[in-house]
Amino acid sequence: MIEDPRVAPVNWDAGAPPKTVRRRAALLSALALLWGLWYFTWLLRPDRVGNPFLFTVLVAAELFNFGQAVGFWLTCVRQPRRDTVAPSLGRLVDVDVLIPVYNEPVEVVEATVDAARRMRGARVHVALLDDGDSVAMRHMARRLGVRYVQRADHSGAKAGNINHALTVTAAAFVAVFDCDHVPDPAFLEQTLGHFRDDRVAFVQTPQYYANNGRGGVTEAAWAQQALFFGAIARGKHTGYSSMFCCGTNVVFRRDALEAVGGFPEGSLTEDFQLSVRLHEEGWRSVYVPRVLARGLGPEDLASYVSQQHRWARGCLSTIPSIVRAKLPSRQKAQYLLSALYFLTGWTVLVYLSLPVIRITTGSQPIAGATADQFLLHFGPYFALSLAALAAVGSGTYTYAAFSLAFSTFWIHIHASVRAILRRPGRFVVTPKHGQRGIQLRPAAPSLVAAGVLVAVAILGLAGDRSPATLNNVAFAAAHVTVLMHGIRSALIPARSAAVEPASTAPQAA
């Protein structure tokens, strides 16, 4: 019997970092920014152009990443000086707690429902929104004494499910939890007070992966989450009032939801789209950097790919509406920054391709510069960027997180192509348990990329051993190392596999 990790103590602090950490992060960010500018003033000169096409592609990739990095630094540099405690709302209010489910294991959901009943600070009305029409769920709801909501029409996936629930409930505030996120009894006490401000539409709290200690994909995915719900989310809220809803561990004002017509059902990231609409209507959002619910992160590569693909597809398809939205520029920039992140995979593809092209064709993007000059300008920029990332994230962002993101670059490419082609997406519930065995399918694109790089490296070494070739072989080898590290858990399953097979049934969006 494996103990439910959601009952274990929280091992992460989402709160504001100490002053020394903030200062160090700001200093390193500023240095990285300055060195980055110096690098680009060196790079963007006509005499640097080698192969014009490759140069253009490289510069585009570099500028994109620099833009993302600058956005990241500017976001994260605006940290709260201390954690603010919400004042009391002053009255006891009714809160509808909505827990949408879709064929998840009952034991996973039961803990959530049970914890939701025990929340303090309001009159809580828990509703289990079952889109899976499960008899077991119905029995469990009856056993725990919570409302069981079922609908005849399952359209609109999670958003449709919640919208339907909104029609059958009436409390002034609505809390939403994914079925695997066990709320803390103090959840409402810590969040409702922010609604004293009538303009606040929702209060978001971190999405904490309680199973982050299981290593592999979970740990890496958690490191990515920790960076977002740590420095980034704090910065978005403190500096730009643009924290968006993340779909779970959130409390809404019903009036705000109704004002924008509920959750948008045509999006794979209904929460993100909803946030844009709410901010566009002048509502405000609040982020409480305190772990008030404990959930489960993806435990295998397939789950991670599924989750990331949905996020990428949803966010990328939201870009046109963000561009059109009548938002303050700072909020619009923040939304674009978040949505455009899912194009990063294209830049990885560029970086992976360059050594292949150099070794096979001899073409290279940069000319008129020695390796020494390149290193002088690029090396410190790279090192300072990493140092800034480490400092900003207070060490939570790991190499495993980076390699996982790097090796799943293809998700961004696939999602953006589908978004451009306007292919309909499918809402796939993130599986709650990892799978046993090797997962070749989600790892296949990375394996192909690594195979090509290895082949090209061998080809290069067989051809000549000039420093230029060796340099590109080294790049290829480094890429292969990162790729293989990222997908290693799919190829070498962990000894302690999870208990239950995952349910990955798609749901029509």
Partner: protein, 902 residues
């Protein structure tokens, strides 16, 4: 609540009033002593002006004789200071003895004068002054013991200024006779001014101190032995050196004696304080002695040359560099006197045994090694510093009994850690001895210098070299003990290189964990650069070992704040400075680290205070120990002028300060590739240029390493170690702008072991699994072994010179009368080392004078200077020689090329 009460809780509270009183007493007497010294100096200067040269010489001899009498008399003072009642009870006996000697001397003065060539007048004067001198010694001892410091100060002042006034006046009137009479009268006057209450009221009111019955005798014996230690070098020098050298050393001895004189009262004032176990009395005494010693040494260091010229004339100017070193030894002796005074009250037997051994060792060393004033200075300084360490050690290290010690030693030696480290050290030793290579230019130069007499060597180093002398001093000793074979001259480096294995284990364990320590020790065995410099008869291996020692000591001092850790830190740092001037760079990093730690402790007052006291104390100690080096460095700077620290000092007889600096043309100078090359050297060793270019091209792996550091956290220890690498390299990079060629890893060689620790840390941080750790360590170790093999075996390595093989073949094939012509000029020493029996000459000197019938061998080494110039010179010579000879042979050894012409 814990009921545990520590020993510290039982310590009596420190009484600040008592501490102040102890300090005040010391200062009063030291002030009187120094003032009386000034009075004596003024009398001497006055006498020089008033008397003829001959009379002055006689007066000086008389004063020297008084000093000699004063040395054993000081032991009476010491005994009295420890136990005033002893002086009182034995006074009459000593008086009778002195009176008897006096009468005998005066009565026999005529006969003695004929026997010894000492004038009757001086003999009579000595006879007259003997009784008051003995009584003065006894009475002053009583005053010290009873802590009657004002009458004591009066006694000291009356003697000196009595001489000045009475002696000066009488000398004006009666010349030498008046001067002598003045000295004698002043001594009697001083005795009259030394009023000791009889019987002293304190003795009546106080019970007799519970001292061991023989304690006064032991104290007297102790100070007698200390007097022997202070003066025996002078007697041996007079006996063994020629007149000039003996005179030079006598000058140094005089100045050294003056330095000791300044603090001579400190141990005597300490006696009653130590006997009563007064708080901090010993610390105050040591602090005062150290401060005076530091001041004297610094002043001497700064003014040695003008002081010598002014006081003793220009012919003594050449020994000026030796003065601060000798004063350091004397300062150490002064410190020993203080520690000895303290020990007289607790463990006199061990103290006397130690002093006997030290005197014996000193005497034997003087007789064995004393061939020049420099050798005498070195032997005395080393003995005094060693004695200081030996005296302090029992206080710092609480040693158990011999049986317990034996048991503890066996237990320690059989510990798995010790056995493991011994195994690794043995492996390291084997590797460093097996993968041997011949001496190269710099080593041969060092060997040539170390073959010189000590004084000449120091003079040569001061005039022609750019490094401090510690390694040369060690090499000098090694050569005398073991000869000058390749193994012998490299033995200090080999030992330092092997010592790095346990040192790195210790450093890794201290800074991170035992696991890091083990990996660091394991990697140290094949680390190519550690092997390389352990095989070089130069200072770099010693520098690395001392740097790691200083790191360990600093960490321990900061964590525990014990005296022994601060002493170890001070000694390591000072030795580091004496090994290489670039020790300043890691030293600065360590000072910044101290400051940072102090800042982090700003809210913890006791911890902050402990750190400040230790830090300032260590700085003072380092200052004292390094002060003489400043003079040495100043001499080198003045002598080298343009050539110091990397200038083009390539004239004949001048050490090439940067020989081999451009060994890797591909990566020389300051650039990103240059930095990368230095870091690759640090970890992977020296390699052929083509290898270096290829390895440097693999820099994308560095990006990978940086990425893997994400999320691993960053400790202060890592920041400290990275600074120990980055700051020296950055400083050298900046310095390289004004001193080209100085941006070289060997000038920041502490980087290498530090890099090994960081590498070990990186490996251990990769995973907690033992299997992963073992695999990663094996992988990195394997990479290091590959680097080591390539470094040592690949003949394209521009730093690997095989003069040994090349000259062995030349020696084997050369016929009588053959001449070896070498280029560049500074191959002279290496050629001389390997081919001492052949006729050799530099190509710079031209080819004239080589008989037509003689064969000529041209030997050239690459990478030591501009290859075009070298090729041009050798080519011209070959063309010229081929007018009368034929090229009959040509062969190469790594970086050495030889042509044979007949």
């Amino acid at each position: 609540m814990s009921d545990v009460v520590t020993a510290a809780d039982h310590r009596p509270p420190v009484r600040t009033g008592a501490i102040r009183a102890a300090g005040r007493q010391q200062l009063v007497v030291v002030a009187a002593q120094v003032t009386s010294g000034l009075g004596n100096l003024m009398f001497a200067l006055l006498a020089v002006r008033l008397l003829s040269a001959e009379s002055w010489a006689r007066l000086a001899a008389f004063l020297a004789a008084m000093l000699l009498i004063g040395l054993p008399a000081a032991s009476l003072t010491a005994a009295g200071a420890l136990d005033p009642s002893w002086s009182q009870t034995t006074r009459q006996r000593w008086l009778r003895l002195a009176r008897g000697l006096s009468i005998t001397l005066i009565a026999a003065s005529v006969a003695l004068s004929r026997l010894t060539d000492v004038p009757i007048l001086e003999l009579v004067a000595i006879g007259l002054v003997l009784p008051p001198l003995v009584l003065l010694a006894l009475d002053r001892g009583v005053l010290y013991g009873l802590e009657l410091h004002r009458p004591l100060a009066n006694s000291l002042l009356v003697e000196a200024f009595g001489r000045l006034l009475i002696g000066g006046m009488l000398a004006t009137m009666y010349g030498l006779v008046g001067a002598l009479a003045g000295v004698v009268i002043a001594t009697y006057a001083s005795l009259a001014a030394t009023i000791v209450p009889f019987p002293p009221p304190q003795l009546r009111s106080r019970p007799r101190p519970s001292l061991w019955a023989g304690a006064p005798t032991a104290a007297g014996l102790t100070f007698l032995l200390l007097g022997v230690l202070q003066t025996q070098d002078l007697f041996v020098a007079i006996a063994r050196l020629d007149r000039t050298a003996a005179a030079q050393f006598a000058v140094l001895s005089t100045l050294g004696g003056a330095a000791v004189f300044a603090t001579a009262t400190v141990p005597l004032v300490l006696f009653p304080q130590a006997k009563d176990r007064r708080p901090r009395a010993t610390a105050i005494a040591i602090g005062l002695t150290a401060a005076v010693g530091l001041a004297v040494t610094i002043v001497a260091a700064a003014t040695a040359r003008p002081l010598m010229r002014m006081a003793f004339g220009p012919r003594y100017e050449s020994i000026a560099p030796l003065l601060p070193i000798y004063l350091l030894g004397m300062a150490s002796l002064a410190g020993c006197r203080v520690v000895a005074a303290r020990r007289c009250t607790s463990d006199p037997a061990r103290l006397i045994r130690t002093l006997f051994i030290a005197s014996g060792v000193h005497l034997v060393a003087l007789l064995a090694l004393g061939r020049s004033p420099g050798a005498f200075v070195a032997v005395t300084t080393v003995t005094m510093v060693g004695l200081g360490v030996a005296l302090v050690a029992p206080d710092v290290l609480v040693l158990p009994s011999v049986a317990a010690r034996k048991h503890a030693i066996v237990a320690v030696l059989t510990r798995p850690t010790v056995l493991g480290l011994a195994g690794l050290s043995a492996a390291a030793l084997s590797l460093r001895v097996v993968m041997f290579r011949g001496l190269w230019v710099d080593e041969a130069i060092s060997v040539r210098q170390a073959r010189l007499p000590l004084g000449t060597m120091l003079h040569d180093l001061a005039a022609t070299d750019v490094h401090p002398p510690l390694h040369h001093l060690i090499l000098w000793t090694t050569i005398r003990a073991m000869g000058d074979s390749e193994v012998a001259v490299r033995l200090p480096s080999i030992l330092a290189g092997v010592a790095l294995v346990p040192l790195l284990y210790h450093a890794g364990s201290l800074l991170y964990s035992r696991r890091v320590g083990w990996v660091a020790a394991l990697l140290a065995v094949p680390a190519p650069l550690l092997v390389w410099y352990a095989q070089e008869a130069r200072m770099y291996a010693l520098f690395m070992a001392l740097a790691v020692g200083a790191i360990c000591a600093q960490v321990l001092a900061v964590r525990h704040g014990r005296l022994r850790h601060w002493i170890a830190y001070s000694l390591c740092t000072a030795a580091l400075a004496w090994t290489q001037y670039f020790a300043l760079l890691p030293f600065l990093v360590q000072q910044v680290a101290f400051a940072a730690i102090l800042w982090s402790r700003r809210r913890d007052r006791p911890a902050r205070r402990r750190l400040v006291v230790g830090w300032l104390g260590s700085l003072a100690a380092i200052g004292v120990l390094v002060a003489p080096l400043a003079v040495f460095a100043a001499h080198q700077a003045a002598a080298g002028a343009s050539g110091w620290l990397g200038g083009s000092a390539t004239a004949a007889g001048v050490t090439p300060s940067q020989a081999g600096a451009a060994a890797s043309d591909a990566v020389s100078g300051v650039s990103v590739y240059g930095v990368a090359a230095n870091l690759i050297w640090a970890v992977w060793g020296y390699h052929a240029d083509v290898t270096m270019t290829r390895v440097t091209a693999l820099w994308p792996f560095a990006m990978l390493v940086l990425l893997t550091l994400l999320g691993r956290g960053w400790s202060r220890a890592s920041t400290y170690l990275v600074a120990m690498i980055a700051v020296p390299l950055a400083a050298l990079a900046v310095l390289d702008e004004s001193v080209p060629g100085v941006f070289e890893l060997r000038y920041a060689s502490a980087t290498v072991p530090v890099a090994v620790i960081l590498l070990a840390r990186f490996i251990t941080a990769m995973s907690r699994r033992l299997t992963t750790l073992v695999c990663a360590t094996a992988l990195v170790g394997g990479v290091l072994v590959v680097g080591l093999v390539d470094e040592q075996v690949n003949s394209a390595n521009p730093r690997r010179y095989d003069f040994s093989a090349a000259l062995a073949r030349v020696e084997h094939e050369a016929r009588p009368g053959d001449v070896i012509v070498f280029d560049p000029v500074y191959l002279a020493d290496v050629v001389g080392y390997y081919a001492p029996n052949l006729t050799t000459r530099p190509l710079d000197g031209g080819l004239e004078g080589i008989g037509p019938g003689h064969g000529v061998w041209i030997l050239a080494a690459s990478h030591l200077e501009d290859p075009k110039v070298l090729a041009s010179q050798v080519g011209t010579a070959l063309v010229e020689l081929q007018d009368s000879r034929h090229l009959t042979g040509h062969f190469t050894a790594p970086n050495v090329e030889v042509w044979e012409l007949r």
